[in-house]
Subunit: 128 residues, 2 copies
DNA sequence: CGGTATCCATTCTGATACTG
DNA sequence: CAGTATCAGAATGGATACCG
């Protein structure tokens, strides 16, 4: 006889497996600019140039590349308004908004614990 | 006359500023292996080899490098037991445990929304 | 077992120039 | 304004060999 157990989280996806698609997705989300872009888009749509000015130090190339990936994943939506010059807005999709709290928590954690991390680094570097 | 306003979150740290230390910290946390290492250490201490077997596809070099960074930041603690051969355990510090829910949420999000992301990608790739 | 050091191919990224 | 194309230099990461 066979017994079937109902599991509360029946996800077959396992990022610990190198070949699971979630491994690659996690990798993509763990990108230098993803967190900042998503947090920046949290309050509402922004144009390319506005994003670039908000996220100091990002190059146009990297910003575009990051936005393209997020658009492809369905996390960000790109809207083109035909005008002269053309206007392009980026905003979070519902999927993107579901990710927002997560990346925002990451940013907030970094801000909240920066001091602790810095003093830990000093201690670490001192004893070498 | 000067009025002082008490702010609930008086963090002067701003990761949108390229020179803020949180920018670099966020960058470090957004590393390919950090999330997996922390999630793996969630349940309890693990040896180097155990971690390597758990996180399929990570090279010894990358695992060591990731662990060193996390140790330096005070997120992971490294314990050496003198024996033959030597035994090295890694475990989350209290600071690291405070970060756990965040990275776990990221991993869980990836698992929960992998299907949506994949179908979005197919749609995106189809219209090019 | 855990770790370091070295070598080397690959990838990444910023700068620059150019298009619609 | 938004974006693409190109190219050279930097950073990355894997493989390998070796140490305590």
């Amino acid at each position: 006889m066979t017994t079937t157990v109902t599991c509360p989280t029946p996800t077959p996806f396992d990022p610990f497996d190198a070949n699971c698609p979630t491994r690659q997705l996690l990798d993509e989300l763990s990108d230098k600019w993803v967190c900042l872009v998503l947090v920046a888009l949290g309050p509402g749509p922004l144009r390319h140039g506005e994003l670039k000015r908000r996220i100091l130090g990002v190059s146009q190339k990297m910003l575009t590349q990051t936005l393209r990936n997020l658009e492809r994943d369905g996390i960000v939506e790109r809207t083109i308004t035909a005008s002269v010059p053309v206007r392009v807005d980026y905003e979070l999709t519902p999927l993107g908004r579901s990710l927002m709290p997560v990346v925002d928590a990451l940013k907030t954690w970094a801000q909240a614990h920066m001091d602790e991390v810095e003093s830990s680094r000093e201690r670490y570097d001192a004893r070498v």
